[in-house]
């Protein structure tokens, strides 16, 4: 039996298909204006990779933006919060994990789970771009690099610039001023990633850390942010082999498997 998970984020959407609890196909796309369109496109792409069709899926769970609407349109049979899905997904790949730092395109969450992977508590910021993927996106644009290039560039930085602002827009002005003064781009990039890590840490502090800790979402791919966060928090972030952006969709698929027995 196959189960599906669909996670529509602010910038990207993911679909994961599992069989016996293991990933057999997944796909990721840039979102479309409408979450239902994103869900349909990404799910069908994940199915097509295995030559499958929608009715091959026994049960599907949607999460993220428009998760209810996606269910109404019949693309999923149930919808669950991103918090539950990320908790579930992270626990399945790292059973020892207790704190999950999920930084997406337009929000940041810190999720605490118990030894069984059950949700204990969470905090979230979706009001301010500081400390979310959008901050890094705005900063990369200002520096003239892609978001993928920012982390590696920052790792080359020797002297971290110190940002006096938190607001992404004000940091943009500040970065321009550093560049006008001739500060090397890698030092500016290093300061940007440090500022990002500090914002994330401020959110983490509101809920507290229990080891082990891992990071999910797109920002988990930035090595400089990870390094700074490990330094500030004095912990090692556990790594894993799957794409950090599909953890939520994987959790959704696992919940689909769980729910299929209950809901028929």
């Amino acid at each position: 039996m196959y189960f599906g998970g669909i996670d529509v984020g602010s910038l990207t959407a993911q679909a994961v298909i599992i069989k016996n609890g293991a990933i057999c196909s997944y796909h990721s796309i840039r979102v479309k204006p409408n979450p239902v369109d994103s869900a349909k496109t990404v799910l069908e792409a994940a199915l097509a990779q295995k030559g499958m069709q929608r009715n091959d899926l026994t049960f599907t769970v949607s999460t993220g933006y428009g998760r209810e609407q996606i269910q109404k349109e019949g693309l999923s049979q149930e919808n669950m919060s991103e918090i539950s899905c990320h908790g579930k997904g992270a626990h399945s790949i790292l059973p020892q994990v207790r704190t999950i730092i999920d930084i997406g395109g337009q929000d940041a969450k810190v999720i605490r789970v118990d030894s069984g992977g059950e949700l204990m508590n969470f905090v979230m910021n979706d009001k301010c771009a500081a400390g979310t993927g959008r901050f890094l996106e705005v900063m990369s644009k200002t520096l003239g690099v892609t978001i993928e290039e920012l982390g590696p560039l920052a790792l080359k930085g020797q002297n971290f610039i110190e940002m006096s602002n938190r607001c992404s827009i004000f940091c943009e002005t500040e970065v321009h001023h550093f560049l006008q003064r001739g500060v090397p781009r890698e030092d500016v990039a290093a300061g940007i990633c440090r500022t990002m890590a500090e914002r994330v840490h401020a959110l983490v502090r509101r809920i507290g850390v229990e080891k082990e800790v891992t990071m999910t979402g797109g920002v988990a791919k930035n090595p400089a942010v990870r390094k700074e966060l490990e330094r500030i928090m004095n912990v090692r972030l556990l790594s894993y082999t799957i794409d950090s952006q599909i953890v939520g969709a994987l959790g959704a698929a696992l919940l689909a498997q769980q729910l299929s027995g209950v809901k028929k």
Partner: protein, 256 residues
């Protein structure tokens, strides 16, 4: 007596020469990362275009976020103190000044001598500041100088509800994708700025006679929305409102 005010703001740096009630000259340029080393040359340019020399200046007062960057000033003063001094001098009956700058919103309550009784400021977040309008204008393809004209063509109300400028950018783009008109969205942005400003103003207390200063005060579409929602009486600032702080700085130079 001729005094020189220097306002090193987050986005623009202004210099102004004041003699009595007469502005002998002023200069405005973008604040760069190297503004500290550009100030001397800027002052020389201002003096020469005003037909004056350094010896004519009795005092130099620096203000603004970068006031410390100019070492040649007789003294530095907080920008809200300068704005209050300018309001007191130009509009003696006004006790409340709403200053909306490039990267800040400040509400200043001042007494009969222009002394600051209380003030509130947001300079931590771009919400409602000049940069907010600039970022959203750019997202909608409308330059700053066309904001008023475009907002004037609005037919219906659209609420831009996100406070964060970066997230509001995504919000307005999603409205554009849904087919909403640019004038309606620009008007929505102006309304949103007015709401953010008013939420600060009302925290400082009841509004009686007030004025609006800072670069954003030039946007009629925003000032009108403030007027609609505030009870007190609005007094237009008699000189370019972007020069309020630098004018006040030059005024304070006389007191030395």
């Amino acid at each position: 007596m001729i005094t020189l005010g220097l306002d090193i703001g987050s986005i623009f740096t202004k210099g102004l020469l004041l003699e009595g009630d007469r502005i002998r000259g002023f200069l405005l340029r973008e604040t760069t990362g190297n503004i500290g080393s550009e100030l001397e040359e800027m002052i020389e340019q201002l003096l020469s275009q005003s037909g004056l020399v350094r010896e004519n200046i009795a005092a130099i007062v620096a203000t603004g976020q970068g006031e410390d960057l100019y070492k040649g000033a007789d003294y530095g003063e907080d920008d809200f103190v300068c704005v209050a001094a300018a309001t007191r001098h130009l509009l003696p009956e006004v006790g409340l000044t709403i200053d909306i700058g490039g990267q800040s919103i400040t509400t200043i309550l001042s007494g009969p001598q222009g002394e600051v009784l209380n003030y509130m400021r947001n300079d931590k977040c771009a919400s409602g500041s000049g940069r907010f309008i600039e970022v959203l204008g750019a997202a909608l393809g409308v330059p700053m100088e066309e904001i008023d004209a475009v907002a004037g063509r609005s037919q219906k109300k659209i609420a831009v509800s996100t406070q964060c400028a970066v997230f509001a950018e995504s919000e307005v783009i999603s409205y554009v994708n849904r087919g909403e008109s640019i004038p309606d969205l620009v008007a929505g942005v102006c309304d949103s700025v007015a709401r953010m400003v008013i939420s600060q103003v009302l925290r400082i207390g009841p509004v009686d006679h007030y004025t609006v200063t800072g670069g954003v005060a030039r946007f009629q579409s925003i000032v009108e929305k403030l007027e609609e929602r505030l009870n007190g009486r609005y007094h237009p600032f008699p000189i370019d409102p972007q020069l309020a702080a630098v004018y006040g700085a030059a005024l304070l130079g006389r007191e030395e």
